[in-house]
Structure formats: structure tokens, C-alpha cells
Symmetry: C3
Subunit: 346 residues, 3 copies
């Protein structure tokens, strides 16, 4: 059972359900549900030493490239350790000065070079659209490897969207799941890619209502709102957290993305009006949850961490398990792991 | 015997004797002796391929974070390879520019993030006290992981102290151990954390006499001398190596820690008076040993390397074995390895 | 068969045929043929999961140091993944600011430190001759480890030479091998270390004719030409690709090594005259091959990539397999792998 025969695997790996992971907007409900279920399965299997050894022996001969020219400690570590959980060996480029541009090599030639050596490319860039370019290049060469977008500029950030969905799904497991919930998103909604991606995915759920709480200059952008309208998803916009706080099932807080400021526009915001502290906790439903993609700024008081509704540290760890689920699915081992005979303990 | 059953391990790992490793001053003789014995055991087991495979299969599902915002090639490599010997997978941050401060995240949030992904945090910072802060944070959260201090500013450096103890213990194994020996410490005793930590640990041994050989402005600091007086450990201070050289069983040489200079004060020292070369070798006891934490400056002539009393390169390698022993003890596998049925060859 | 017994290995590893790999000029035909055959063997074994697991279990207890103070993404990744294919654990230094010079440690002490922790040192420096110095140091200490030169300044680059030989050997496998072929080398022949190393190795083959196509200021240097004359290897020099193109069996294209420019001398070259594009393809033999060490500049039009004679992407991947072969030979496992019972499929 914990012994993975070569035949078994090659049979299982014939039809991976995912290849490139570039844009979360293409995910459907079925895939989201399957990935959430798989992440939970993996998380539980990993709790015993026997289970952890089983996972580690799933992909020991695979090699990953982590190409992070936009540094990101959290996403990097999450992916690196997700690889390690599955036995995947990793190589990394994290220093922007070693990016292709500096050496005079084209971006395409750099990506093709990575594909010569590894089985999957996980990439994060400051410039938008690069992961999509890399995926298209792969589709044009004889020996393509899958590309995972770990963030491209202010674009989509698909594995972040998946871990957010997983956190909502897991938190509401006893309450009918995400369907029908009221989800607030607060902070810099204009430039925060996590809230943008998550909003797009709401089309996969029934009767979700969204509440956007943002300073006017950082309101959710028209493309997202048009998408919501098109799919009949209710949303309201407000600058007053107090008015809506008691209605929320989830409050997704984000920080001001001041690294994208052109003229210090973040500094004009009174962040205290878009923050969570003990006063807000008192008015939040007892079974609501507070999420944050981290790193946090002043918008969540560390005193909130001890509250049972603070879900952001678990959300962070969910990210690692969701990335394990994504890698398993890319390498066609999702069915294998679902069928593995481990006790389904807590 | 080389097969480590899951039950066996979980039994063995119930009561680790170490959790955080922050300050060497809390170590007692029993722990020091056990760690030295375990380091020797591991070093011998690793000599055969069968033994090396046994070690590698002890912790294959564990993951470590090496967070080194103060770069240190030697300590980093020593820990990284100690992890690899035990099969532990490692993630690293070695670039100060990716430290939490730069990203606007609090130090505490960064450490908690690492703990989300790995099973042990090994950290080195330029600022003092940070490892202790990290350990306290861990003690306050639901899912703590052990923190190992790999050097915090001019503070204690516990695994360096352990490898120094191990080198003394091993070198004097045929001569009654460390008890009763005369140990000289030379160089920048004021700012060298290795000699400070080592001095504190002398309370665990009987009848050790210390000889501090330093330029007056870089003499051993009062806190250490008060500690020695309190524990009845004899010490003398001198600026003249020649006067004391023939009496020493060990001469621990250190370099000027000029990176901590405020106004170039290191340059005022005539380092030749606090150095070892062929002339000093001639007057050193035939069975004395010369130690150095490395990297060395001009205070040890490379011509000394070939002398049988030069112990610093072995000391460096001892560091890797001692770190293996520390990791085994933290993960509760020390008894398991002691009991493993391998020949106790040389 | 896929189970590597400890006894078997220790028997096999008694007499490694390679220790340090510093200068390709010492390689003989027998070694080149053996390495090419071994690289092909490994490449084929790795195609099945069973074979990949076999390879990964060959050196799981070995540790490598990748010391790259001259950054090189391609060579670094190629070696790192070659190590991973064999189960070797890797540590890395890739930031010039962590090199020994910055810390005040001598180069020799740094190298000896690496040798304390690992089983092989793979190194690349901007300064010439450093790998040879490291190898000589190892030969003088009690516990030496092999040193692999991954490029030292404008010196030799032995594993690049080996992968170039392997690419030629593999491409001409059905046509009698490298013997008797006409090999063009084009571009910055003065400073390109790949073409220099490759030229030296031509003495191992019979009746090879070389065609050097370079702007006059970047012509092949006298030492190489003297070597060729001494070994009776025919060569001609020209500035006109068009004159010689139809005669070539292989065209090895290189880029202007402008990073070595003192006063921008590369800019004086009209690189279009030393480039390959659709027009050149039309006049190249149907079974000739185009090689390039990469990264490329404008000297090869990306439109060439789709042509069946474009061999540079395969050449890049050959480098990883050749490095696996080198590591196996250094660790004395070449005979073991040759004898392993795997089907010799495609």
C-alpha cells in the first residue's frame, strides 16, 4: 500500500488533469472541489511517519526549477517545501541579477534551458504575463514541461487563489461550504492580486455575496466587477467596515500594495479605517473567519492572532498543502493518492 | 537493524531532551558528555555506506529552514550538510536583502511563517537576542517548532561551544578528558563569542585552569570573569604568550573581530604578539593542541597546519558531527542511534 | 538488479578512473569514448521510473559543494541536476559577495573548509587557474576530495568540452563517429573557452579537419594552432562563412564574449557575417549539425531552432548527462552502471 510500484504509477500518470497552471479563471467547480479534497487527504496522510514516507516516495526522481526573479519568501518556501514533501528535488534562482535579461539571454531561451534540466518550472516575475509566455513556449517545443505561475506582476496568482478557496472551503466544511456565504474583501482591492483572483473564482459557487471594503482610490477594478455582473454574483462596495462587519462570514483583509505606488499614493489612506483589532472582533460573528494573504502590515493587530476566528496562519499552511495537491495533479498522481489506503483521521 | 520502523521511531521520539538550542550556559555535564559520545558514534557509523544509509533514513520526512541573515559560509555549510547526513531537506534564506525588515514584515511574523513550512528553524542574525525571541514566540503558538541559534550578534553561539567542547573532549580522550587541563584562549577575547561561550561551559568540568592572552583593550569581559569567579574556576590574564605557552594543554586562538570595530580599534593591535607560527610550536607541549574557530587571519601561520597538534581543521569537521548529534537529540532519536547495532570501529 | 548492495559498491569504487577534473587536454580517446558511452547508458536508464530510481540510489549518501563565484545559470543548473539524478545532496555558494576574499579568508582555507563537509567540490571562478590550485591543495591534505573545474576565467572548461565531444559523437554515431569530419568553429574564437578546449581534444580523433571562421581580431590563438600543428591536425582560417559552409559536417557557433572586453572591441564586429539564419541553412549539408554552447546572442536566429540540424538544445541537455557520467566515474561507479541489467532501448 505504501509501496508505489512503477507500473501502477505509469498507469496512473497517463492522463494528468492539469498541465500548466497559469490563470485561475479557467478553474471549474469540479477541479476546485477535487483539489481541496486532495489537499485535505495529503495533509492527513502526512501526519504519520508512515504517511510522510509514502508521500516522499511518490516523486523522488522528479526535479523542479523555482525561478523567482521577483523575490517572495513565503511563496518560495511554500512551493519548495511542497516539493520536498513529495520527494521532488529543487533548484532555484531567486536573485534578480541572475535573470536572463542581465546575461543578455532572451527570456524564452532561459525558460527553454530550465526545461532541459527539470520536470516542472515554478516561476514568479515582477513583469506581468511572463508565465503565460513560458507556457506557450513549452507548447511549441518537442520536450515541454509544465509551468506553474507563482505570481506575474499584478496579474493572476493561481495557487494563492486555490489556497484561499481551500481555506474558505475547509472553514465552512460543517456549514455547507462556500455556497451562500457573505465574503468581505478589504484594503487595497485595486492592486491586490489575491482578491482579484478570488473574486473571479466566485462564479464557481452558488449565492455568494461579496462586500468590497476599500478606500475609493483603491476600489476593486472594473474588469472584476464586470465579470461578477456577468455571472450574476451580488456585490456591494463601501468605505465603512463598521456598516457591514456583522453580516460577514469571512473577512479577507489585505495590505496596501505600496511597492506598486508611483507617487506614494498609499500614504494618503488612513489604514486604521480598514483594519481589524479587538474592537472589530467584538462585532464579528462568532463563526466568521478572518483571512489575510500575508505578509501583513498594520491592518491586522497581532492581538487578533489568538482569536479562534483568525485563520491567516492556517491559511498560510494550507498553501503548502494545496501546492502539494497541484503538483500531484500535474504529475498524474491525484487518483493514486486518493486511492491510497491510509486512515482518514483528523 | 538499519531498518527504522515507524513504531520504533515514534516510541523513541516521545521525549526529546532538547527543544530550542539558544544559550549554551544552560548545558550541563551530562548533556555535554552525551552529545560528545553521540557525535563520535555518528561519525563512526557514517564511515561505511551501510551506516551512511542508516543515518540518511532517520529523518527523511523532516524539513529545516536555514535563516542566515548574517552570512556565514562555514556555519551554514556545516548545518546544511548535517541536515543532509540525516536526510533532512533544507530551505535557505542567506541574503540579508530578503530579511523581513526589508519587506516590511515583522521579525515575529517571518519566524512564524517559517514554522508553517518546516520542522526546525536554524537561524543566524547580526542583531543579538533574535534566536531567543524566536524561541519565545514558538512557545506561545499552537504549532511550535524548535529554534537553533546559529549565532546572534555578539551573543552566545551554542553549537560552536559544543563543537569546541567536543574537540577538547576528543583530543584529551586518552588523558582523562577536559578535567584538570590548562586551556589558553588568545586574541580578541572581548568580542569573540566562541571564547565567551566556551568559558561559561568550563563550570561543567573539574579543575580546569584558563589563561586569557589578549591585548588589554580586547581582554575578556567582566561578566565572564565574574561567572568564573562565582564557580571557583581559576584564570589568569596576560598579554605575553611566551610566558604561558609551555604550560598549556590547549591553545584556542581567535582572530581580531574587526567587523565589530567602531573606529578601527583592531588596527592598533600588533597581531604578531598574539599569533602562532613555527617559533611557538617549538615551545608548545608535544601533546598540546591548537584550536581556532576559523576563518583565520594572520594569527595562525599556514605552516602550522602540517603539525600534528594543529586541530582546527578537525575541529571544523567536528562541528558538522556535533550538529548531527544536536539534531538527533532535538528530534528524539539520540537513544535510537546509541542503540543501533553498528561496529564501534575507529 | 536495481538494488545496489553495499559490498558491490565498495568493490566497484576501489579504483576510480578520474579524481580531479581540471584540464581537458589530458583526456585520451579511451576515456572520451567511455564517458560518451556511459552518458548514453545513463540517459537511457533514466527514461523509466525504475531506471531513474536506480540512478537516484547510487550516491544518496554523497554531498557536493557547488562553488560558483562567477555566476553561471546553465552550468550551475546542469551540475545541480546531474547531482540530483544520482541522489547527491548539494550545497551552493553562488553570490560573489560570499566568496572568501570578501570575508578575509584565503582561497585555500575556503576550499579546505568545503572539503570538510562534502565529497566533491564543483567550482567556477572568474579568475583563471583557481580550480588547479584547489586540486593541488587537496593533493596535499590528509582528507582530499575531488575538484571539478566548471570554468576558471578564460581557461579550460573540461565538462563543456566533454559535452561538446558527446554531442558530436552522438550526432555522428551512424556515420563513423567524429573521425574524418569537417568541423567549423565560428565567432569569438580568441576568448571562447569552449572552442579552445574542443580544439585541443581533436588530437584524440583521426583525420578531423577544422575550419576557424572569425573576425581577424578574434581569431583562434597561437597556442591552440601550435598544438594542432604539433599533432598534425589540419585547419584553415577564414573570415568568410559562405566560402566554407557547404563543406562542414558540424558548425560550432559562439557568441562574442563581450564580458571580457577592455575597450568595447566586440562592438567593432559585424556579427551578421558570423551568424546562422535561414539563408545559411539552405547551403548547409542535409546531415550537418549546428552547435552552440549557449547562451546565444544574435548569431543564431531563433528561426533556426525548428530545423532538424539545430543541435544546441540537445547539446545543452547532453551536458547534464555527461556530468552524470563524470560524477559516476569519479565515484568509481562507472563499471557498476555499465553492468546494470536495464534494457538498452532508445
Amino acid at each position: 500500500m505504501t509501496d508505489v510500484g512503477a507500473e501502477h504509477l505509469s498507469a496512473a500518470s497517463e492522463q494528468p488533469r492539469l498541465f500548466h497552471v497559469i490563470d485561475p479563471r479557467v478553474f471549474d467547480r469540479r477541479l476546485l472541489d477535487d483539489l481541496c479534497e486532495l489537499a485535505t487527504r495529503v495533509r492527513r496522510i502526512a501526519k504519520s511517519r508512515e504517511g510522510a514516507l509514502y508521500l516522499q516516495n511518490l516523486l523522488p526522481t522528479r526535479r523542479a526549477m523555482l525561478y523567482f526573479t521577483q523575490p517572495s519568501t513565503r511563496t518560495f518556501l511554500s512551493f519548495n517545501n511542497a516539493c520536498h514533501i513529495l520527494g521532488i528535488r529543487t533548484s532555484e534562482i531567486r536573485d534578480p541579477s541572475t535573470s536572463s535579461e542581465v546575461k543578455g539571454e532572451s527570456f524564452e531561451d532561459s525558460i527553454r534551458t530550465f526545461s532541459s534540466y527539470v520536470d516542472v518550472i515554478i516561476m514568479r516575475t515582477r513583469e506581468p504575463g511572463r508565465a503565460a509566455v513560458a507556457a506557450r513556449l513549452m507548447d511549441s517545443i518537442p520536450r515541454p514541461v509544465p509551468v506553474i505561475n507563482a505570481g506575474s506582476g499584478s496579474d493572476q496568482h493561481p495557487t494563492q487563489a486555490l489556497l484561499d478557496i481551500y481555506t474558505l472551503d475547509r472553514s465552512f466544511a460543517e456549514r455547507g461550504g462556500i455556497d451562500g456565504k457573505v465574503i468581505g474583501m478589504m484594503g487595497d482591492l485595486k492592486r491586490g492580486r489575491t482578491v482579484r483572483s478570488l473574486s473571479y473564482l466566485m462564479k464557481c459557487y452558488r449565492d455568494v455575496r461579496l462586500v468590497f471594503i476599500a478606500p475609493a482610490p483603491f476600489a476593486m477594478q472594473p474588469d472584476v466587477k464586470a465579470h461578477l455582473a456577468e455571472h450574476g454574483i451580488e456585490f456591494i462596495e463601501t468605505e465603512r467596515l463598521d456598516d457591514v462587519l456583522p453580516e460577514l462570514d469571512a473577512l479577507y483583509v489585505t495590505r496596501m500594495q505600496s511597492e506598486w505606488d508611483i507617487a506614494g499614493e498609499s500614504r494618503s489612506v488612513d489604514i486604521r479605517r480598514f483594519s481589524v483589532g479587538p474592537a472589530q472582533l467584538a462585532r464579528l460573528k462568532p463563526d466568521a473567519i478572518i483571512m489575510h494573504p500575508l505578509p501583513r502590515g498594520p491592518e491586522i493587530d497581532p492581538a487578533v492572532d489568538a482569536d479562534h476566528r483568525a485563520m491567516y496562519w492556517r491559511q498560510e499552511r494550507n498553501g503548502m498543502w494545496m501546492r502539494v495537491a497541484v503538483l500531484l495533479t500535474i504529475f498524474g498522481l491525484d487518483q493514486e493518492v486518493r486511492a491510497a489506503d491510509f486512515p482518514a483521521d483528523g
